[in-house]
Amino acid sequence: MTQPDLRMSPPAERGRALTILVDGQPLGCHEGESIAAALLASGCRSTRVTARTAEPRGYFCGMGVCHDCLVTVDGLPNVRACMTPVRDGLRVEIQRGLGEWGGQS
């Protein structure tokens, strides 16, 4: 997650700055952004690893249809990153396989 920021507009046009935790690491983002937008903006494109072949997957349809950008959020697995807004202190885990309640699958 060291790539340059992919946000298009100047930061002033965004919501207030806040921090989420991605696999325990703090990630700066902005109120109003979806989890997917926050992850993609910082170059983090794999939101999960599949159950059967352990392939990385990420944001695909961007409108809640494909269910590929699933992450575990505050211990709840199978949350669509593209449809879920960030909140300060939100705990996001890159989901491994089918995920587990409580996180850390």
């Binding site: 919501g15 903006a41 794999s46």
Partner: protein, 465 residues
């Protein structure tokens, strides 16, 4: 169980227009939308938390959408946002779930305006992170103002690709090239039919000029072959294609890219119309199914109206007009509009629709869907993204005698995942057609089952009676 005079499902252009017209005629309308904010994909707003929030409109359609939403709310339409309509029972009872609970609404009339999604086309590498749909790329840039990458390859067909490329350039990304599958040869033949629609044509030309100015190669008659990369996309191979969008061997070109946007047209979301029991027919020009409707926008199920891209993809202008017409029909059916008032207004709407459809038909001919695009996948390619079923596994089932998509589903788990077969169903139908030597219409469709979208057990357990 609660009741309503009219439930509108979907808060994009079609649903908003239907809600507005019905409410103007005194119908009590309940509008359900899955997103936290109304607007659908076309009117998708900037998040309210972005400074200026509702007042900041970098895009024209966002301002248009905001006005329409304000109008709908001002007319007293009850809005359930962040609520997914996951089923329709007994023809017009709509099941709606939020994160916490689910409820059923017995409606006198239902207007379905579920919209469309990007046609999923399997090709080697299409599951790599960094490969995303044209709609997904547009949402990311339009709503969240985030680029999908720095060096972006855009492939697919249709005017939406130009819009995506426009956003990419605006955001400072490099568009490696734009590969349009259709050849766009002999466009002069359409000149007289496009003459009444110069505003649309000029918009397209502005986009093309912008691409030319930025030095973006626009390759017509080209398709994607594969995306490459270990853990995310780092490059792609493209090739020339024939008129059926089938790649021509020996014409491959490899390019570097850190994102790949794919948009081979849109497919109507038909889960709810199928659950309601509406009849559908194959639309060859669109390469997909669409519900049958009469001139009042009513489906084959009485009192269920279907409008917008969810009834055959035709764009936002048609969606607005169809929504208006359905709103009139609802008011008429509920006795709020007399026969004479209804026919006058409805006929004017039908006239405007006829005009707009003239443009859509030209677009459908120019960008006519080519089923050859489904030949890109090899046996190792993932067909079902949810259940991780490959094309080869589906072929095995077909070679052992399966002749229908539901048989392949039962044998391989294709289509049993969270997306409910939306991602694999269309490609599987074409695979079945190819292997059985029958037309794609004979492949069948996955049996629709509720919930149309995943609903938590907790929500189901707390169903409000």
């Amino acid at each position: 169980m609660r009741s309503a005079e009219c439930v509108v499902v979907g808060g994009g252009p079609a649903g908003l227009a239907a809600a507005r017209t019905a409410a103007r005629h005194g119908v009590r309308v309940l509008l359900v939308d899955e997103n936290a904010e109304l607007g659908g994909q076309y009117y998708r707003q900037l998040p309210a938390a972005f400074s200026g929030g509702a007042g900041t409109h970098p895009v024209k359609e966002q301002a248009e959408g905001r006005r329409l939403m304000d109008e709908v709310r001002g007319l007293g339409v009850e809005v359930m946002a962040g609520a997914v309509a996951w089923g329709i029972f007994d023809q017009r009872t709509v099941a709606v779930a939020t994160q916490e609970e689910t409820t059923r609404i017995a409606a006198d009339t239902v207007v379905l305006a579920p919209g469309a999604y990007d046609r999923p086309v399997p090709f080697p590498g299409w599951t790599l992170p960094g490969v995303l749909t044209a709609g997904g790329a547009q949402n990311l840039m339009k709503a969240y103002r985030v680029l999908p990458g720095r060096r972006v390859l855009v492939v697919g067909s249709g005017p939406l690709l130009l819009v995506v490329a426009h956003y990419l350039l605006q955001g400072g990304a490099q568009v490696v090239s734009l590969c349009e599958a259709s050849s766009l040869r002999g466009l002069w033949r359409y000149a007289h039919r496009l003459l009444p629609h110069l505003d649309f044509v000029q918009q397209g030309r502005r986009y093309r000029r912008e691409l030319a100015g930025a030095g973006v190669p626009v390759l017509t008659g080209h398709v994607i072959l594969r995306a490459t990369g270990a853990t995310e996309v780092t490059g792609a191979t493209i090739a020339r294609c024939d008129d059926d969008w089938r790649p021509i061997p020996g014409t491959e070109v490899t390019v570097d890219a850190d994102a790949l946007v794919v948009g081979y047209g849109l497919l109507s979301s038909l889960e709810l119309s199928r659950l309601a029991g509406c009849e559908h027919r194959w639309e060859a020009a669109l390469g997909g199914w669409a519900p049958l409707r009469n001139r009042d926008m009513e489906s084959t199920v009485p009192g269920v109206f279907i409008v917008g891209d969810g009834a055959g993809v035709a764009g936002s202008a048609v969606a607005l007009e169809e929504g208006h017409l359905a709103g009139l029909s609802v008011a008429h059916r509920l006795g709020r509009l007399t026969g004479r008032d209804y026919s006058g207004e409805a006929n004017r709407a039908r006239g405007r629709l006829l005009h707009l459809q003239g443009f859509r038909r030209v677009m459908d001919e120019i960008f006519r869907f080519g089923a050859g695009i489904y030949s890109l996948a090899d046996e190792q390619t993932t067909l079902c993204r949810c259940e991780e079923v490959t094309v080869g596994e589906a072929l095995l089932a077909l070679r052992e005698g399966a002749t229908h998509v539901n048989e392949v589903k039962a044998w391989t788990r294709v289509g049993m995942g969270r997306c409910q077969g939306r991602m694999c169903g269309p490609a599987l139908a074409h695979l079945v057609a190819r292997e059985t030597g029958r037309p794609v219409t004979e492949s069948g469709v996955f049996t629709p089952r509720p919930p149309a979208k995943p609903v938590t057990m907790a929500a189901l357990a707390r169903e409000i009676e």
